[in-house]
Structure formats: structure tokens, C-alpha cells
Amino acid sequence: MGPVEIVFVTVWIVFGIIGVARGLWRELGATTMLLIALLVLQLLTNPKAPGYNYWKLLLSLFVTDPAAYQPVTSIIATVFLLLMAFISYEGETLTFPGKGSNWFFSLGAGLLNGYLFAGSIWFYLDKAGWPGGLIGPPFTPFYTNVVKLLPLAVLPWWLLLILVVFMMIMRVLK
């Protein structure tokens, strides 16, 4: 296991602990917000998604070198994710209506949010080739296997759309 895995697994665990502290219903609100953020990012930054051409057009206004598209996209996406996580966790937040909670599901929801948040940042930093020069190949087998299972690597935009709609329905049903 290398430095990237150690740090991101720790962040993931911390999100689990935060989940227990905040409770299930608040965590589900954060899950919804993070899924919306991922949907937006997938729609715009994934080359197979319908919004990618618009994104490239927008980028070309500010970035002249096409080789810099991916790093710039990754940095913007990471900042956007941090902003969305901030909105989801700080102050008055979207909360699912519900009474009671149990620590097991709160922990699970926290871990799910950690996977969505930390996993997506990992995905974009990996795509950008780890800017800053502190991290570089060779990566461990654990890294190369996990990177294939990060949220944005496995969830296409249409599946994220289904998940967002599902969360909305669950919010209304409660």
C-alpha cells in the first residue's frame, strides 16, 4: 500500500466516524448532494457524456494548450467537489425526514459519502497525473485495482441520474 491509498482510506474512515456523529438522516442529505455533484461532473467532463463538447468549448476560451485540458479539468472538478461537500456538511444542510437512527447505518452512510467524495478526488488527481510532483508511479497493485472502482470510474452519467432520482424519491417517500 502506498501513500495515496493510506491517505484516502484514512479520509474514508474519518467520513465514517463523521457519519456516526451526524446521524443517518443528515448523511443521506449529503449523499444526495454528492451524487448531484458527481452527475454534473460526469455530464461535463466525461468524454463519452453529452456535455463534454460544451465543456471543451468552454475550456478552449481559457486554455490554449489542449494537453492542459485534463489537468485543468481535474483541478476545477476537485474544487467543485470540495465546494459541494462544504455546502453539504456546513451549516443548514439538506436532511432526510426521519426519526431515530442507528449507528450501523449512520456509519455506512458516512462511509458511502467518504467513498463518493474522497474516491472522486482521487479519480481526478489520478487523471491529472498527480500535479505537484510529490506522487508518481510506480503505483502498488492495490492502487491500480482500486482506481478502477472509484465512483467516477464505475458510475456513468445515466446511472448517476438514476441514483439522484432514486434519492429524490426516497426523500419524498419518507
Binding site: I17, I18, L134, P141, L155
Partner: protein, 219 residues
Amino acid sequence: MFTFIIVVVAAVMTFFAVIGFLRVVRASVIILILLTTSLALLQAFGPRLIAIINRLWQFFMGGGLNALAGDGGRSLSEALSQPVKPPIDPNAPATFYLLTFYFIVLVALLIGSLKPFLLSGRFSFTGLLVGLINGYIVAAYSIAVLFPEFAVLPVPLPVKGMTPATPPQGLPLPGTEIVAARLLQFLDNLGSSPSAHFVVAGLIIVFIVLATRLSARKG
């Protein structure tokens, strides 16, 4: 041993993250500023600090105070030229640097626990993020000194004599451990499967349904 290192890193980062989460973000930012400032000072003035401490030590142990008072019959230059073993080896300053760093960490934690920074009734996500960075810094420098062969975490400010010049790129999971090998195999199979996205989305949906239904029933 490597598992122990991971546990130490996770514990230190979690500790600082929880502190950041429970207190407002100002506490974590103050801690971060103190940590980075102390590291920058160690990077720039570390050898000079060691020289001063060693010189002071030699002064006191060689009877410098008596020489100053003029009652030992010894001149100041004699006192300073006495052969006294220095307390800090300038060629191996890592332990001294780490202890200095820990002292700053302790001071930073105490400052962070002052009344203006204490919990004001609301958890802080930005405090959590800054706390994670603080925890990472403390863990990375601790491992660089205490377990240099496992110093895989890159450090933001290399300090000569404290951090390795060329850190190891990464350590593979021990291949002999059956659980680790099976986990890797499972991740590889899942990641390579064309239905991975359905599996992940399905797991999320099942979890949400179970969590909302079963928790509501308990409430």
C-alpha cells in the same frame, strides 16, 4: 509492521480531523500555520539552532558561569574550549527536530483549545478538512523519523536530516498474506467486470433502502 504504520497514520489523521470537526475551523488553521511555520524554520535555521544549543551546553558544562563570575579562576575562552560532549549530534539531528516539532504540535493543540476556538454548537466540515491536513503532516514527519524504511508519505517541506532525500515510492501489500491477496484478486475481478457499475449502483440502492426502512422502524 506495515499494518502498524497504517494504523498509526490513520489514528493521527483521525485525531486531528475530529479536533477540526468539533472545534471551529480557526483552531485547525492556527494549528496548520504553527506546524508549517515550525517546519519552515527548522528547514532554514535547524543547523544554526543545534549549533547554538550545543554551544550553550558547552558554556554551562565547561564552567562558563563561574568564569563569568570570576570565582573559578578560569577564563571564558578556557570554558568554551573545554571538551564537552554536545547534547545534539549535528550529523544526526532527526530526533531533536522531531521533538521540537512535537513541542510545537503540543503548543498548537493548546492554543487551539483556547476558549475562542472551542465548539460553538456546530460541527465544522472545513475544520475537518484542515484537521486532516494537520494530521497528515504530523504523521508524515513522525514516520520519516521513527520508521524511515516505511517513509512512503511525501512531506510538504523536506527538512535536511529529518526527512529522507529520496522517499520510497510505495510498499506493496505483503504477497504472502492470503487475505490481502484475495482482496486484491476480488478488486481486480470486480474492476474488470463489465457489470461493475451495476454492482456498485445496486449496492448503493440496497443500502439506502435498508437504512431508511430499518432505521425508521427503530425510531
